[in-house]
């Protein structure tokens, strides 16, 4: 079955942030949230913002990739939802992971809005790997790496960002995207290979929009 890395839309319209991880929240996050909920002051929000904003903005910018011009809108809407829902946050995941889940939904809404004609076949279940090997990108510079990630198909980019950049577990990613953990693992493997191919010298990259996987 073909893997659909080019769309990030499809079945996740009703995706909810539902983490399976045990609480990994440190005292700093709890303290920031408690202070904000108690005061709702500018200063309390600034402290919470300073703690979370770079990670949230980083996730949004990179996940939106070619649609990064909408990052500010997604960022603001993420904070609106975070603050509105914060009193009900149950600390069943880390604060950062929870916020990232909300950011993901905001990004998906923009992606759906801006790419109405996108295929709806992201994250079809796949098994195994085709065994192809690519050289590591140990020597790639940051700009090349950023560009290569931006050009990854959305379905690849998303899983790679969650796992390799933001450190989420496959179980977390599965919860965020409404897919099976095994699908997340397979997508990650293919994403890494696509990234290596894109960064390998003298190799035609397979990460462009027209680079669909052949049915396996």
């Amino acid at each position: 079955m073909a893997v659909g890395p080019h769309a990030t839309f499809g079945r996740r319209q009703d995706t909810h942030v539902q983490m399976n991880e045990p609480p990994r929240t440190g005292p700093v996050e709890r303290s920031l949230v408690e202070r904000f909920l108690e005061q709702r002051s500018d200063a309390a929000f600034s402290a919470l913002y300073a703690h979370c904003a770079p990670r949230v903005y980083g996730l949004i910018v990179r996940q939106l990739g070619p649609l990064a011009a909408h990052a500010d809108d997604a960022f603001q809407e993420t904070w609106m939802r975070v603050v509105a829902a914060l009193p009900a946050f149950a600390w069943r995941s880390s604060l950062s992971t929870w916020i990232c889940g909300i950011a993901v939904n905001c990004c998906h809404e923009i992606q759906r809005r801006e790419r109405r004609d996108a295929p709806d076949d992201a994250y079809e279940p796949v098994t195994g790997d085709d065994g192809r090997e690519s050289p590591p990108f140990d020597g790639a510079d940051r700009i090349d790496l950023e560009r290569a990630i931006e050009r990854l198909a959305p379905g690849y980019r998303e899983v790679l960002l969650f796992h390799d950049v933001h450190g989420l577990r496959h179980e977390d990613i599965a919860g965020l995207l409404g897919i099976e953990p095994g699908t997340s693992k397979s997508q990650l493997s293919r994403a890494r290979r696509a990234l290596r191919e894109a960064l390998a010298p003298n190799v035609i990259p397979s990460t462009g929009p027209a680079a669909k996987e052949s049915p396996s």
């Binding site: 909810h16 942030v17 539902q18 983490m19 408690e34 909920l37 108690e38 005061q39 709702r40 002051s41 500018d42 929000f45 600034s46 913002y49 904003a53 770079p54 990670r55 903005y57 980083g58 910018v61 990179r62 500010d72 960022f75 603001q76 904070w79 609106m80 939802r81 603050v83 509105a84 829902a85 009193p87 009900a88 149950a90 069943r92 909300i102 790997d129 090997e133 690519s134 590591p136 990108f137 140990d138 790639a140 940051r142 790496l145 950023e146 990630i149 790679l160 390799d164 950049v165 933001h166 450190g167 693992k185 990650l188 493997s189 890494r192 290979r193 290596r196």
Partner: protein
């Protein structure tokens, strides 16, 4: 699985954080204020029982005042309501009240004050009706991981303790009526919404 080399892993992890653009924090704060999400304290869990009692009392007092006003101003709210033709109906949603905002004020004082406010409105034909809502409810929240927040009580700033229907010439006038309510003076929130028909 194509495992990452240590160098690859380090390069990717360095991409995690991106500083938001200058001004983003101010924009977020402005939007939060516009939505009423910044600038008012959320009750701490330990205060909830006390605050719940305070809010419940305030709501009861408020509605007591309303009924007192209605009894004395029935003439203005029934037959003479026809004279309010052309006015728009607005709903005033009664939200959080902070009992600490009225130190030294007795319940009797509040009853009298709320009553005077309600009678004044009723005498002008501006007060149509009012109800107290049960203290507990359920919030259907798709952003919450369980989708539902049990006990959406009036102890939260989103909780609505009661509502009133008033008549006003326009939105500004309805807002003035809400602002004149003693509930606001005692730290309570009044939400004003036009009723579309």
């Amino acid at each position: 699985m194509n495992d990452l080399t240590p160098a690859e892993r380090e390069k990717l992890e360095r991409l995690r954080d991106v500083a938001p653009p200058a001004g983003a924090e101010s924009n977020v704060k402005r939007a939060l204020r516009d939505r009423g999400l910044l600038g008012r304290a959320t009750p701490r869990a330990g205060w909830l029982p006390q605050l719940a009692a305070g809010i419940a009392i305030a709501t009861v007092l408020f509605l007591s005042g309303f009924y007192a006003g209605r009894q004395k101003g029935d003439h203005a709210m029934s037959g003479e309501a026809a004279s309010t033709n052309g006015l728009t109906e607005y709903v005033l949603l009664v939200r959080e009240s902070d009992p600490s905002a009225a130190p030294g004020v007795t319940e009797a004082d509040r009853v009298r004050e709320y009553g005077a406010w309600a009678r004044d409105l009723a005498s002008k034909g501006a007060l149509e009706n009012g109800w107290k809502l049960a203290d507990d409810g359920r919030l259907i929240d798709p952003m919450n991981e369980r989708h539902r927040v049990a006990t959406m009580a009036v102890t939260t700033r989103e909780g609505v303790g009661g509502l009133f229907i008033i008549r006003a010439a326009n939105y500004d006038e309805a807002v003035q009526v809400a602002e004149s309510c003693p509930h606001v003076k005692y730290g309570g929130i009044m939400e004003v919404r036009a009723i579309e028909k």
